[in-house]
């Protein structure tokens, strides 16, 4: 049962307390501490039939290069499409770049040697439906933007990999959450 309305004077049982405290909308699945100077980090067993949609956050880490980090599903290295819209801090003019059949979602996050992060929503990675992705914290030292993309296949995925386009990642924790369905 997703929700329950308690009435005045009703006994709040331990069972109800445990059930409904756990029935939050966003459910913790797992976390992965990122090692030192890694060119890619794979998180296994992140997606399952339990959830359709997920939130992935990486924070507290750094990147050796001032650039983007990318997300790849399973071992798939083709069929990623998307668009990154961004602006330089020094300019009011919006800019954009397209991903046209790339080998990863190229703008899953970004960072530099002083901080780096990802804030990703990913839709239907486990089902046989095309996986879509939104990332909202693609921030370098000189620019910031947002990215939306789709992977043009119907493969079911359980794992993902974060990898910078250049250099390495160090530290921080990747958190994976699922959006509860009912």
């Amino acid at each position: 049962m997703a929700i329950k309305t308690f009435t005045t004077g009703e006994v709040l049982t331990a069972s109800d307390t445990n059930t409904y405290l756990a029935n939050s909308g966003l459910v913790y699945i797992k976390q992965q501490t990122v090692g030192s100077a890694v060119a890619s980090v794979t998180v296994s067993d992140a997606f399952s039939a339990t959830y359709d949609n997920y939130k992935i956050i990486w924070s507290g880490g750094t990147q050796s290069n001032d650039t983007n980090n990318q997300l790849r599903l399973g071992s798939t290295t083709t069929g990623y499409y998307g668009a990154f819209v961004y602006s330089l801090y020094s300019s009011a003019t919006p800019l954009s770049v397209g991903d046209n059949n790339e080998n990863a979602f190229r703008f899953a996050g970004g960072g530099a040697s002083n901080s780096a992060a990802c804030n990703i929503e990913i839709f239907n990675p486990f089902s046989s439906y095309r996986t879509r992705l939104t990332s909202t914290n693609v921030v370098y030292s000189t620019l910031a933007g947002m990215y939306n993309g789709v992977l043009a296949d119907t493969t079911s995925y359980t794992a993902f990999t974060l990898l910078p386009s250049a250099g390495t990642l160090t530290g921080g924790i990747i958190y994976v959450y699922g959006y509860r369905k009912a």
Partner: protein, 38 residues
Amino acid sequence: MARPNIQIDDEVREMTEEEYEALLASGWTEEGSDGLAD
């Protein structure tokens, strides 16, 4: 030059030659950026 590290869950190790070749083929570079205007 030593090959970069790869992490799979809690295991961190140096990439194999095959893994490194695949990384390079994907466009990864040790130095550089994504080529966006900045």
